[in-house]
């Protein structure tokens, strides 16, 4: 017990000695702290893009809303079922109802090409056919200009995001669908969610225009409550007439955002890793100089009987403290610079644009600290081992 306490006092004495000699080495020390702060800043900054994007995608769907796809389908694109199946889904237990019937919208969509306002080149826009319940099964859907399209007519309403991005998408404009021109009669917002990037029309009109018969790709449903999801899902998956996949809308959007989130995350890690290699060399340099300027003193302590373990532990503590300081500075800067920063546009597959804000989450900050710690450990270990292995007699000969 006393032995252990004394070991800690040994480590403390050497570590204190090291930390107090930092002013003598302030150049290398601040370069190291800045280097590590840079790694953490970039890592947290880039990953906050992915986190923010994901947060927006999650906000696109509420937990008491569900989406039903054909089983095995990863996205609406590759999903499909007929009118009968759509009706079975809408009538399933758990689905909320109003006077007009169940709050479920069987939908389909196609991708059309429209010229972008900025470059006048064509880009993909989803054109979605919806049923009357479409507004009720999504949160915060609001018409901000014009009116809703008329059922059974070749008319569309457009999401505010798509309207910003594409030429002709304003009330009074038209879009080309096949050989026809369809008027744009309204613009809607969806609280920044994914629907804002789409164009909507009547599902039956779209089925006719694209010769889709009576088929749909998805059913969007509002449930009685978030807790009703299990009942709804069980009813559908145990129904032998159906072969479907049931997701909460929030889960669905999270899944859809996975690819881009992974891409950004991979990029972030790659950049941070390359920078971390540089930071490790900086830390090595600092700790080698920390050992070099104290060679004789460390030799003296070892001559007095201080153990190699205490020497290594103390130098590692010094290195870790510097790294943690760098990590804290980097994380703090990332938070100040990036948290809630609004990003403009993001083109990805069928999403013409998704507006979102960077999110510097506690998990990201923790990750930054872990990286800083690793850099400190790697950068401190070799110099500490060198200090402990140098023959004492040789260390004492240093002037």
């Amino acid at each position: 017990m006393a032995g252990l306490l004394n070991w800690f006092s040994q480590v403390g004495a050497i570590a204190k000695f090291g930390l107090m000699s930092i002013p003598q080495r302030r150049g290398a020390v601040s370069a190291t702290i800045i280097g590590i702060a840079g790694v953490v800043l970039v890592l947290v900054g880039v990953l906050s893009i992915a986190a923010g994007f994901r947060r927006t995608m999650l906000a696109s769907g509420s937990p008491d809303a569900a989406i039903v796809l054909r089983s095995g389908a990863d996205s609406e694109m590759v999903s499909g079922f007929g009118r009968n199946e759509a009706r079975l889904i809408a009538d399933a237990p758990g689905v909320a109802r109003n006077a007009a019937g169940p709050l479920a919208s069987a939908e389909l969509f196609v991708i059309i090409n429209l010229p972008k306002r900025s470059t006048h080149t064509d880009a993909n826009v989803p054109l979605r056919g919806v049923e009357a319940a479409a507004l009720a099964v999504r949160d915060h859907l609001t018409l901000t200009a014009g009116r809703m399209f008329a059922w059974g007519r070749n008319e569309v309403v457009v999401g505010a995001g798509a309207a910003r991005e594409f030429a002709g998408l304003e009330v009074g404009g038209t879009i080309k669908v096949g050989r026809e021109s369809w008027p744009v009669v309204g613009v809607f917002t969806a609280n920044g969610g994914v629907a804002e990037s789409e164009i909507w029309t009547d599902a039956r009109v779209l089925q006719d225009a694209y010769h889709r018969g009576d088929s749909f790709q998805s059913v969007y449903a509002r449930l009685n409550s978030a807790a009703a999801f299990a009942q709804f899902k069980d009813a559908l998956t145990s129904n032998p007439q159906l072969s479907v996949k049931v997701l909460r809308q929030s889960e669905h959007y999270a899944e859809q955002s996975e690819a881009i989130t992974r891409l950004i995350t991979t990029l972030g890690f790659l950049i941070a890793f390359l920078m971390a290699i540089g930071a490790v060399f900086g830390a090595l340099n600092t700790m080698y100089s920390a050992v070099a300027v104290r060679t004789r003193e460390i030799g003296t302590l070892r001559a007095l009987g201080f153990g190699n373990g205490a020497v290594i532990a103390a130098l590692m503590i010094e290195s870790l403290l510097l790294a943690l300081l760098g990590g804290t500075v980097g994380g703090g800067l990332a938070y100040l610079a990036f948290n809630n920063l609004h990003a403009a546009t993001m083109n990805w597959q069928s999403f013409s644009q998704v507006a979102f804000a960077f999110a510097v989450t506690p998990q990201l900050l923790l990750q930054g600290v872990v990286w800083a710690t690793l850099i400190g450990l790697i950068g401190g270990l070799l110099p500490a081992i060198r200090a402990a292995r140098l023959p004492i007699a040789a260390a004492l000969r240093e002037y």
């Binding site: 004495a13 000699s21 003193e297 302590l301 007095l304 009987g305």
Partner: protein, 235 residues
């Protein structure tokens, strides 16, 4: 040879010691077939030209290095076969070091410097404070306890170094050119102190020096030359 056959009177017994350093491909034979006995309670001066191996021999006696060949006994312990860890523990218990350049830790006060070897003992903080106060009193620096090394004169720094060397009450005190960096007056004070420690507290002292003025204070002087010890200087 059995550990216990070492003569009762000899605290330090160096027998048949060789020390070879390697510098690149070159072998440097520093000590060859060297024997030395230091009786308990003796004040021994070790002289010789620069580079003759005085520090090397002192390091072997202090358990800071191991001989290439031969044995080193101090007290009942055979040092040349101990592990690094065991040697460190042995040094903490049995030996005090005094260095030419004092080797104080610059960011610690005099009393914290003196306390360092006590961190290796099971003493409580209160007991450590008592031992530190005693050691500083012995070297006459109680009034400098809270001073940092850079605010002390060279002679005072060396006396702090001696306090650190004796604070654990070791039987053996090893001094490598303790007056080498001091003027005559400060050097004399340090030598007075070492002499008093030897006479009044019975400390066994081995002191490396090339100053005849310093060796004159010792009870016995040996000379190191070309790897061997003699009782008379060469020529």
């Amino acid at each position: 040879m059995s550990e216990n056959t070492a003569g009762q009177s000899a605290l330090v017994r160096v027998e048949g010691v060789e020390k070879v350093f390697h510098r690149g491909a070159e072998d440097i034979h520093v000590l060859s077939q060297l024997n030395l006995e230091v009786p308990a309670g003796q004040f021994l001066a070790l002289m010789g030209p620069s580079g003759s191996g005085k520090s090397t021999l002192l390091n072997l006696i202090g358990g800071l290095d191991r001989p290439t060949q031969g044995t080193v006994h101090v007290g009942g312990d055979r040092l040349d076969t101990l592990s690094d860890r065991a040697l460190a523990a042995w040094r903490a218990r049995h030996v005090g070091f005094v260095f030419q350049l004092y080797n104080l830790i610059p960011v610690l006060t005099a009393e914290r410097n003196v306390e360092l070897p006590l961190l290796l003992t099971p003493l409580s903080p209160a007991e450590r404070r008592k031992h530190v106060a005693t050691a500083l009193a012995v070297v006459g620096l109680s009034h400098r306890a809270k001073h940092y090394p850079r605010t002390l004169s060279g002679g005072e720094q060396q006396r702090v170094g001696i306090a650190r060397g004796i604070v654990t009450d070791p039987t053996l005190l090893l001094c490598d050119e303790p007056t080498g960096d001091l003027d005559r007056k400060a050097g004399d004070e340090v030598l007075n102190l070492l002499q008093a420690l030897n006479r009044e507290q019975g400390k066994t002292i081995v002191m490396v020096t090339h100053d005849p003025h310093a060796s004159a204070r010792a009870a016995r002087t040996v000379y190191l030359n070309k790897g061997r010890l003699t009782n008379e200087p060469e020529q």
